[in-house]
Symmetry: C2
Subunit: 341 residues, 2 copies
């Protein structure tokens, strides 16, 4: 941890983003060299083969390992909730954090079922960010602090980290980030979130559009987008993505909000998310669109739209399977199985 760069302002983050560590090509090659020797038709484990190689590449380690997966759920509150963008009241953020702590939420069950450690991180819930229709959601220092927090909580001993969130109003924030980064029609980025109706989505799209217009003078790069339209939990996710890269920990992003939180980094450095996979594609309609913009495929499509890192943790099953097969299978020579005739 002591080796992590100190972050006090967004310019510190800009500097780190300009100089991220690259892939471990030796580990990648070791993984690729082993695959054709294993007792199966070449390529027949499909994405599992690629996941094993990807883990080795970004763990900077061969063979890859999946014994210590962890999930981080960041929680934050949003001033923009005052605009009536959510189906649930703002106090639900805090109530759900308590639910996480008492083990009653979906993410608790999924972490237990998948053998994933769970860390819940509340970010100043009593002080929502500013309503971004009135100006920037966060100051430079606030945003930098949340990013630094996200960087810090990543444990270098994790074999993968799943990043998720809880925050009433944060699909509005995520949609605004996407509109600012990629343009297009605000209605295409707005979705039902926790369950608003068509009229509500129209209202949400207006709020998103207004937020982007109002903050335009302050926005010169992706980190400005994150600061002006994001929230503390989104900034913390962006920080966790950076921290994981520096600590050689691959990242499993969750759904729309988590991916939107990471997207500003990709806009600043096109390789910034190379160590990230997307656990699942959310039913929140903006997610599919965002994945296209990022050139990323999701690992799962189970029609989920819950957040909390649920989709990311579910995808850990694929990583475990990938590593188990890659590391544990016999070779043709070891098993005395005849090769292709």
């Amino acid at each position: 941890m002591s080796l992590m760069p100190k972050i006090t302002c967004l310019d510190d983050v800009r500097q780190i983003l300009g100089d991220l560590p690259g892939p471990d090509l030796e580990a990648a090659k070791a993984a690729q060299d082993r695959e054709p020797q294993l007792t199966k038709p070449a390529g027949s484990l499909g994405r599992l083969e690629q996941l094993a190689a990807w883990l080795a590449t970004w763990q900077n380690r061969y063979p890859p390992r999946l014994e210590n997966p962890n999930a981080h759920v960041f929680a934050g509150n949003h001033g923009v909730v005052a605009q009536g963008v959510s189906a649930f009241p703002a106090e639900v953020t805090q109530q759900m954090v308590q639910n996480f702590e008492h083990g009653g939420a979906a993410i608790n069950q999924l972490c237990e079922a998948m053998g994933v450690g769970l860390c819940v991180e509340s970010l100043d819930l009593e002080h929502p960010t500013q309503d971004f229709t009135q100006g920037p959601a966060m100051s430079d220092a606030e945003c930098a602090e949340a990013i630094a927090f996200g960087m810090k909580v990543i444990d270098a001993a994790s074999d993968v980290v799943c990043l998720g969130e809880m925050g009433i109003g944060n699909t509005t924030s995520a949609s605004a980030i996407c509109l600012a980064l990629y343009g297009g029609n605000a209605l295409h980025w707005a979705g039902p979130g926790t369950g608003i109706d068509k009229v509500g989505i129209g209202r949400k799209a207006e709020v998103i559009g207004l937020g982007v217009r109002i903050n335009k003078p302050e926005i010169h790069d992706g980190l400005d987008v994150l600061r002006c339209l994001g929230g503390r939990e989104l900034a913390a996710i962006a920080g966790a993505v950076i921290g994981a890269r520096l600590k050689k920990v691959p990242v499993m992003l969750d759904g729309f909000v988590s991916t939107a939180a990471a997207a500003p980094l990709a806009s600043m450095n096109k390789h910034a998310l190379d160590h990230c996979k997307i656990g699942h594609v959310s039913q929140e309609p903006g997610h599919k669109l965002l994945l296209e913009k990022l050139g990323k495929n999701a690992l799962l499509d189970q029609h989920m739209r819950l957040g909390e890192a649920t989709g990311a943790v579910l995808a850990v099953a694929l990583l475990k399977a990938a590593v188990a097969c890659h590391n544990g299978m016999a070779t043709f020579a070891e098993a005395g199985v005849s090769g292709k005739g």
Copy 2:
């Protein structure tokens, strides 16, 4: 086990298929009633919610349970291998069975990673079925025996059974079954299997077409298709599907061959596969087409095409997740979380 109907000929199977037990609608309703109370936006766990209800429905039990999942891999040899339809020699079937027994195959690693029990069942490997381009692959008694075997091995204490296969030449058999059941172009049902090239696939399509033409006079229903064009491991899978239905065990089918083995049952009784899910969609091109014919969606798409029940076992992770969330989550009332505003 003693309550299982005795099978000595295919007419015994026809009789059972005419009178399969239906769903437990009470268990289904109990599952549906609980979902909206759980601390998440309604429907936000997507397919996991449906899987929990489906398990309860076909386990005839509420709440559903996923503590004892088992996989059955049936192995058989095929006379049609003499027609040069496979990239690997026939002895690989036996060699891979040994690999399963020694723990070196992909399915061993996946079962261990997913906590699934593994049973490998060899069906008379020293005596391949007849080459179906010369006449029926099996006699009525042979096919009935393999079906009865598959029925018998299902343990009523299983919470789900994953059904898979190993048999050099068996994608040719699966393709021939599909062509006989659904018609169309033999080339659309033929695929690379373990890895033959385009010319090989053309040859395979000819073999499939010839097999269907030669056996046409003997084919009057789905069980005739299974007998004339299937193999012992395919018949055993069909038997296991029936046995699981009678024993209240939901089924997770694997890829193209396993689904093709079950398809004749659906042609005899359109509800025969209601207790079956498809673990994944295989890269073997016939699988997607077959799923459309059956009106079934696959749970996963990881670009796999290995067989051995690997895709089915991977999908058990989704079932575990579904049951963990359904049974373990707190309700809004229990957690003191505010409902939709």
